[in-house]
């Protein structure tokens, strides 16, 4: 019984996302979508991947990290540099998956190496140290020669340039979604959530805290890295300053807005956060002010008791029950 409910929720998430992807595909291919809309598709997918992966750490493992953009930049630079090097030697269909995997793996490696000392810390301390990590990565990239220093890399192959080949981004979002969902609903995911809920109890029943924390950290870093590679191939250039702590905070805002530990929430919030600033362009100078007000309003409304009641009333589970109830009545 319980399994059914769970599958329903997961399948619904997959289904809705697939429907949105198809809708976007139709809008773009029929020429209805504006250029601005088209250019937002890939950044939206990047944000979804970043939010899903950060949610694994913040929402499910229950640790606050402020250095997610750091992993993103490591992956972006590793993948994009390899892509520049390999361009022309092999077809794009082979090169892209290769460089994305490479970027993800390098980011995961960084996650592992940094995670081992850092995950001994908890709460605020971990947040501060990861914040520092992100900034250190940025200044290292700014001062290295092969990363182009402050000028960055400007010759990244524009495989997904301005929304062309955006289907690759859809595929990546789906892979991220499926892997994170599968992880959460497995014994490893249960162990990770158990650590969040009560570390001492988890330890006492034989859960290896360090192993599972590292697992969550490494997987999250991997997808942040892949998202970085996607980002680089979309705008065709990399600038280390784009991966500063503001970026990390932005990802965190998405996760918090969508609800910690909520996978569909992360996806919806990623959509909002990507689209709102563009919509607000009409306010020109007051854009950031309005953006902040909208954010605060959404947070307050979303957390208010009335909204919670409304959500419970229109929850998937309830609707499902209603539909089934009606069907039964008809049969009777």
């Amino acid at each position: 019984m319980k399994k059914k409910k769970l599958n329903l929720r997961v399948l619904l998430t997959y289904g809705i996302l697939a429907a949105v992807c198809v809708l976007v595909f139709v809008l773009i291919e029929t020429g209805v979508a504006s250029r601005q809309f088209k250019s937002l598709v890939v950044p939206l997918c990047v944000n979804m991947m970043l939010a899903l992966s950060l949610n694994l750490i913040v929402g499910f493992l229950g640790e606050l990290t402020l250095g997610h953009a750091g992993f993103m930049s490591v992956g972006a630079y590793a993948g994009c540099l390899l892509s520049v090097y390999l361009e022309g030697t092999m077809p794009m269909a082979l090169r892209l998956p290769l460089v994305m995997l490479f970027g993800g793996l390098v980011a995961a490696l960084f996650g592992l190496v940094i995670g081992i000392p850092v995950l001994r810390l908890k709460g605020d301390y971990l947040a501060i140290v990861t914040l520092a990590f992100g900034e250190i990565i940025r200044s290292i990239i700014l001062n290295l020669d092969f990363t182009g220093g402050a000028a960055g890399i400007n010759n990244v192959p524009r495989d997904i340039y301005r929304g062309s080949n955006y289907l690759i981004a859809f595929v990546l979002v789906f892979i991220t979604l499926i892997v994170i969902t599968n992880l959460v609903y497995s014994k490893q995911g249960r162990a990770i959530t158990a650590i969040r809920d009560n570390r001492i109890a988890a330890e006492s029943i034989g859960i290896n805290i360090t192993y599972y924390k590292l697992l969550a950290f490494v997987i999250a870093a991997f997808f942040a890295g892949v998202a970085g590679v996607l980002y680089g191939h979309n705008i065709g250039q990399l600038d280390a300053n784009k991966f500063d702590y503001n970026r990390s905070i932005e990802i965190l805002v998405i996760v918090v807005l969508g609800g910690m530990g909520s996978i569909p929430g992360s996806l919806i919030a990623a959509g909002l956060i990507t689209v709102i600033p563009e919509v607000l362009r009409t306010f020109s100078d007051y854009r950031l002010l309005v953006y902040a007000i909208v954010l605060i309003a959404v947070m307050i409304i979303n957390a208010s008791p009335r909204m919670q009641a409304l959500r419970a009333r229109f929850s998937v589970r309830r609707l499902w029950k209603l539909i089934r109830g009606r069907r039964r009545k008809k049969e009777a």
């Binding site: 599968n182 497995s186 014994k187 969040r196 006492s204 029943i205 034989g206």
Partner: protein, 259 residues
């Protein structure tokens, strides 16, 4: 004296001690719990009972002494290792995984009994489905033993207090321990609930052939079900032996009631 002398005790603790800075919290603590025994650890507040539990489960590392479980030396091992190798516990203030379902709480306890890998889980290979199915069956069996099967899909936080206590015992048993440590299981319970708890504890011992060491303040519970007692006072053993005899010991009465 019906206990067989040649049997190795399930738990043997020799000369256990720990000091925090200058404070000797537990000093030369000795205990021997036979297989299948229900053993009580009592003492006034601050006597060091929970510290003993924390030493046994590796939360604190002892400064002196040895801990032997069924002949295996567990001294200085990590909490995770001890949790996997035969000692499970409950906590004085309930520590459930509150935002997880009742069934999931138990399933976390199976973690190392169903060893499918991360890759198998992520790719949803056949072994994942097979083992997850077994976990659900196994978990429901355990929940049924405690009459919690109807609450399996509830969040643990939404259970009433008495059932939360039961779920904690259930989760501890999920790790297939050799020794079960109960830290004040009757705390916050009314006499009816305590009576029910006593039945549960006796049932657990029968049904799982469990060895149980428990800390308790409720003398009714202690005298009702414990066969042997150790009394701690200021970190040292004050008295040890059969329950009825220990409770009549004038030193014990003095420790509890004063001169």
């Amino acid at each position: 004296m019906e206990k067989t002398q040649e049997q190795t005790p399930m738990l043997k603790v020799e000369n256990l001690g720990i000091s925090f800075g200058g404070l000797q919290a537990v000093d030369s603590f000795n205990i021997e719990v036979q297989k299948g025994q229900l053993y009580g650890l009592i003492g006034p507040n601050g006597a060091g009972k929970t510290t003993v539990f924390n030493l046994l489960t590796g939360v604190y590392k002892p400064t002196t002494g040895r801990i032997l479980l069924d002949g295996e030396d567990l001294t200085g091992r990590s909490t995770t290792y001890i949790g996997r190798h035969g000692i499970a516990r409950t906590f004085q203030n309930i520590r459930l995984f509150k935002n997880m379902s009742v069934l999931d709480n138990v399933k976390v306890g199976f973690e190392h009994q169903y060893p499918y890998t991360v890759a198998e889980g992520l790719l949803r290979l056949p072994r994942y489905y097979r083992q997850e199915k077994k976990m659900v069956e196994h978990g429901m069996e355990l929940l049924e033993v405690f009459g919690l099967q109807d609450e399996a899909s509830y969040l643990a936080a939404n259970l009433p207090y008495g059932q939360q206590r039961k779920l904690e015992i259930c989760r501890a048993l999920a790790t297939r321990p050799k020794l079960l440590l109960l830290d004040e299981p009757a705390a916050g319970m009314n006499p009816n609930e305590t009576a029910e708890l006593m039945d549960t504890i006796l049932f657990v011992r029968e049904h799982f052939q469990m060895t149980i060491l428990l800390i308790e303040h409720d003398m009714h519970l202690v005298s009702g079900i414990c066969e042997q007692l150790t009394v701690l006072n200021f970190g040292t053993v004050l008295a040890q032996g059969e329950t009825a005899r220990v409770l009549k010991n004038p030193d014990v009465i003095t420790a509890y009631l004063g001169e």
